[in-house]
């Protein structure tokens, strides 16, 4: 055991030396409060482009800082956070309980979730398909054979939805079973049920859009940022009201198929964040950071949610004109 800790101490010393060498090599910061160094992040590939754009923006603001991003999927963030190789773990799904427990066991405090934006799933049909809306039961009856949301019978033909233009059977398109998109849709739209076996499975959301755009009988689900002109989004009916995945409905939480985009932060309680990470999150949770979220087709946080996140991290409140 002692040899292990000795090894850990040695390796930590080596890392420290390397870090010192790295810092010494960097050009001197121009002004006193500029931060220099490398910013590490390990995690979600859904958020890869988002993180990269934030990284670019951050590097413009603070010359000399470099974002080092590893995107191997959300599942790669918890191990890296637990091992302490990164302080920031972007994830497109919330951490599971066992992942949280493992973090707490290793570090002695809970991991801090920071919601940095939202992603919505939309149900899409071919652009020639006149379908306007589906209610939750219909959606479940189309995609699942477990009918966990309370539908009476499975829907396999377009006629069952009262349409006569796309005739015949419904062709289902979806994502592979281990993707976050698949998991979210299964939990929220199928009420934790199971997909029909006949779903055509694609490895990426763009492929789903392409397939539905090509198939007049097709229906599929994709992330909001993947929509194009070949497909139409379908409103989810909630009682008498149609809910479309529009900004307001997403922000208010009316639209059912929404997930948070998070950055998990390794932050000991009562200690301020290291300067670089703090500055990065400050930028992410600022109007300019949220503009990037919008530009990439995700949904930005509402001003009040933004304030709440900033307060939780101990960041200064935004000036009124900045909001």
């Amino acid at each position: 055991m002692s040899s292990v800790s000795h090894f850990a101490a040695t390796s930590r010393r080596i890392v420290m030396l390397l870090w010192l060498g790295w810092v010494a090599w960097l050009p001197l910061p121009a002004t006193a409060h500029d931060v220099a160094g490398a910013l590490n992040a390990v995690g979600s590939d859904t958020m890869a482009e988002l993180m990269l754009r934030w990284g670019e923006q951050f590097e413009e603001q603070r010359p000399g800082v470099r974002l080092q991003l590893q995107v191997a999927g959300s599942a790669s963030a918890p191990p890296a956070l637990i091992a302490g190789t990164t302080l920031l773990g972007p994830m497109s799904r919330p951490m599971q309980d066992d992942e949280k427990a493992a973090f707490a066991a290793r570090h002695g405090y809970a991991v801090t979730p920071v919601v940095v934006g939202k992603d919505a799933l939309v149900v899409v049909v071919n652009r020639h398909n006149p379908l306007e809306r589906l209610n939750r039961q219909q959606l479940d009856a189309i995609f699942s054979d477990t009918l966990a949301c309370g539908a009476e019978e499975s829907i396999d033909h377009w006629q069952q939805l009262g349409l006569d233009d796309p005739q015949g059977s419904i062709h289902l398109y979806g994502r592979n079973a281990v993707s976050g998109t698949h998991g979210l849709f299964r939990r929220r739209a199928l009420c934790d049920g199971e997909f029909k076996v006949s779903v055509t499975v694609s490895a990426g959301s763009a492929a789903v859009v392409a397939a539905v755009g090509d198939d007049p009988r097709g229906i599929g689900y994709v992330g909001l940022n993947h929509l194009n002109a070949d497909v139409r989004e379908v409103a989810i009916a909630d009682g008498q009201r149609d809910v479309r995945p529009e900004r307001q409905a997403l922000r208010d939480g009316d639209y059912p198929l929404v997930r948070d985009l998070l950055i998990y932060v390794n932050r000991p309680p009562e200690t301020p964040l290291p300067e670089v990470e703090r500055a990065f999150l400050d930028m992410v949770l600022s109007p300019s950071g949220q503009r990037v979220v919008k530009e990439l087709g995700f949904v930005a946080l509402s001003p009040s949610a933004l304030m709440a996140q900033r307060r939780a991290l101990g960041l200064p409140a935004l000036a009124r004109e900045e909001r």
Partner: protein
């Protein structure tokens, strides 16, 4: 000074170089062998914990169990259930079924075409044409399977789905037209027959076939409106309850068939060409037609070689990943309908392994699938190689006799 060459410095350096080359080649060979064994051992080591009693609650029978989610017994591949601790619903059976189905359809497409081409080029073609044709066909093997998969999944599949009648009409008309052409060829006047000789059939037949395909496509709407009320797809659905998916087993079979053809063709052609010339010439000297020579003399002798060619093709079809991944729809169905999608072991590994947590049950299950694929292709190739070696030995002996 008993042996003058051994003291010659030039000879000695040449000998040293020779020894070095032998050493390097041996090392390379052993290296390859060790790598193959290491891969097998790695897979085994990763897979074995699956079957430790109590560890993951997995047993061999659980892989084949079929507790349906909706009452009736049904094999389902639900890997996300593994993360929730439910092992019973991740059955490898649909994946295995999909793999075999895809391979069988590919072979159904490839075997007649490849063997026909091999027989034609070894027996009918002029040597000059053959010398150019064979490398061209073998060049097809260099076509990346991603490209084939892309064409099949994103161009051909959706086209067939929309133009089912045209596709069916091409598939039905082409063989019929070939037979009619062959029968008609014999009735042609002799000078024309000589001009359009069978030896160079590949050259003049190709434009004819292209025209035929065009005609078949043009005629399709006509007979579709005569017999199927203008919509074959609707008719098929009403009559047989079959639904045409854009990505289905037929499309996979077609694309993978094309991927497999060059391999089968090359080996089968070699096997036919290796049949001692004197046998075929003897048969023809005694009045046998070329068809009789082929079926009675050459095929029986070359049969083991052709068999091994087919086995190599089957091995390739089972392990092929990209084509199945892109053209099959990846729905883990267990139906024999060629118009439904399927999901193979290889494409499941490609899609799911990057996102499976290393060391988890899902990860180990996928590696079990990889091990199964590895063993299957290894077995196929070894068997094919053994058969070929036997065949070669027999030829050598028969040449020695004559």
């Amino acid at each position: 000074m008993s042996d003058p060459t051994s003291t010659n410095p030039l000879y000695r350096s040449r000998q040293r170089r020779d020894r070095l080359a032998t050493l390097l080649i041996t090392a390379g060979g052993i290296g390859v062998l060790l790598t193959v064994i290491a891969i097998a051992v790695f897979l085994l080591v990763e897979v074995v914990p699956l079957f430790w009693p109590g560890a993951d609650g997995m047993s061999l029978s659980a892989l084949w169990s079929a507790p349906g989610t909706s009452g009736e017994a049904e094999f389902r591949w639900l890997p996300h259930r593994l993360e929730e601790g439910v092992v019973a619903q991740a059955s490898l059976a649909p994946l295995l079924w999909g793999t075999l189905e895809a391979a069988i359809w590919a072979l159904i497409v490839a075997i007649p075409l490849a063997l026909g081409a091999a027989a034609h080029s070894s027996l009918y073609m002029t040597p000059g044409l053959r010398a150019r044709m064979k490398p061209t066909l073998e060049l097809m093997e260099a076509m990346p399977s991603v490209v084939l998969g892309f064409i099949a999944g994103l161009v051909l599949g959706p086209w067939v789905e929309r133009h089912l009648a045209e596709a069916v009409s091409v598939v039905l008309l082409l063989p019929l037209a070939m037979i009619t052409l062959a029968l008609g060829h014999r009735r042609l006047p002799v000078p024309v027959q000589r001009y359009l000789s069978l030896n160079s059939a590949a050259l003049w037949l190709l434009p004819c076939l292209l025209l035929l395909v065009l005609a078949a496509v043009q005629l399709a709407p006509l007979w579709e409106s005569w017999w199927f009320a203008g919509d074959l797809r609707e008719w098929v659905e009403q009559r047989w309850g079959l639904d045409v998916q854009a990505r289905n087993a037929m499309i996979v079979g077609l694309a993978m068939g094309f991927a497999v053809i060059p391999g089968i063709y090359a080996l089968a052609e070699d096997a036919l060409s290796d049949v001692p010339r004197n046998l075929a010439e003897g048969a023809q000297a005694m009045g046998a037609t070329r068809w009789q020579t082929l079926t009675r003399v050459m095929l029986p002798i070359a049969l083991p070689g052709i068999f091994s060619a087919i086995m190599i093709g089957a091995g390739r079809a089972v392990g092929e990943t990209m084509i199945v991944l892109m053209a099959s729809g990846n729905s883990a169905l267990m139906t024999a309908t060629p118009l439904d999608g399927l999901r193979s072991l290889a494409s499941s590994i490609a899609i799911e392994l990057p996102e499976a947590a290393p060391g988890g049950t899902h990860y180990r299950l996928l590696l079990l699938a990889a091990l199964a694929l590895f063993l299957f292709t290894f077995l196929m190739n070894t068997l094919a190689e053994l058969v070929r070696a036997r065949l070669r030995q027999r030829f050598r002996r028969s040449r020695g006799d004559t």
